[in-house]
Symmetry: D2
Subunit: 141 residues, 4 copies
């Protein structure tokens, strides 16, 4: 049975917070991206590889639901999964939890599209990338 | 006929961009919030007033669809409307356009909830705020 | 007598603050840069022009002294002056004040160097840029 | 012989970069602070403890010299040392290096002051904190 999610862990820093004493809502999207970057690195490629292939993976959609606030110093666990994989796009989902007590803090997703840097049009996700991403798709029973 | 949207305008700064040469996707949420702040100021209240009332308006949902990239120096127009107004929550929608050519760059929304700072539970949006927000609801024909 | 400073004004946004309820110290450098960008625009050029000339103006030094905290909603005035102008570099200084009462919040400087994008070496600041910057040098009596 | 520096390591993320393809200059101050936070955690206290003591450590000065640009994906090493320790303030210095080749990317410092949250005046750095910080002072031969 293939692995279905990847997770990474990091701490909330002071600059992540705002005057309400909690993490600013826009920073969860930085957390998603940071987990995404680690996920790609785990799969053996990064944004630099993509550029060398003449590819770019802009986001076309970003979403987050906030359940409980994260605070300075909290150790977070961010889980990444692949929710959908199409020919030219993928939907990654994210789950942000507080490590200490496994509290769910936020849920969200990003939709990314493979774009050819020359033509600036959507293009196929390279086979080796698609193959690796498929391993992280949620299991359908 | 009531007014149905508010808009504000500002420029993309260098720090908003990333190494792809375009505005980083998380910064559109900063743009939404900045427009939201100007919107509240236009309505005659700000986050400081809310705090004095013992209220807090955390976001419970944030969403953005990216249509075209914004670049350094672009003059943006951000339009704010009220999509839904419930007893304890409101859904604000946002439209980011490039002023020069009215190109649509991004669309999104925020769902905010009124929270009593003491009890930390959702509470009614104060009548005067609800009344003002209602003026900016999209017209239903 | 030449003009000796340029100033611009903008408001502290919520995302600028941190859990201490004040503007995060790193954001003053965003304020400096924003004022710098407006200053260049006022002089008739921007970062985009520089790139077209094959030039780049990286910072080699940044400094800030914090006098009083800025808070959410404060209307700031940022003053920009040219402290030093050398063949290949310039030192810009910045003063951040609270508009309401003219309180001095922060003082600082940036040292920028003209770099040729091809050779990646320091190069002369183009004459027209130097001429314009000279108008904003502090008067020495 | 006491230990004279602490170091931590992390990667440049995409959002740290700007349209010049390098880390935005203001983000080095985020790197300094992140290293500072890890340093305090290593010493056994964090910003939360400070707050419980009724103390606050605002920055009164921040400085950075930029030597070489950091880029997306670079693994950084940030070294923290204590340059000066006075009754009410401390000067921490920072060195940012690229792990791969030990290239020096940036040097800088922060001056922090102990402030009593009640009186809002500078106050003595608590003895246990001062004692721990002293272990990280640069060796004077």
């Amino acid at each position: 049975m293939p692995q279905s999610s990847f997770s990474t862990s990091f701490r909330v820093t002071w600059v992540d917070t705002d005057a309400a004493g909690v993490v600013h809502y826009s920073n969860y999207f930085r957390f998603f991206e940071r987990a995404e970057e680690e996920f790609y690195r785990h799969l053996g490629f990064d944004f630099t590889n993509f550029r060398e292939m003449g590819l770019w993976f802009p986001r076309v959609e970003a979403f987050c639901q906030y359940k409980k606030p994260a605070r300075y110093g909290d150790l977070l666990v961010v889980e990444v999964g692949v929710e959908e994989l199409k020919e030219k796009s993928a939907k990654l989902n994210f789950k942000v939890m507080k490590k200490e007590n496994a509290d769910l803090l936020a849920l969200g997703h990003l939709v990314i599209v493979a774009v050819d840097k020359q033509t600036e049009h959507a293009t196929r996700i390279p086979v080796d990338i698609a193959t690796k991403l498929r391993l992280f798709m949620k299991q359908i029973l």
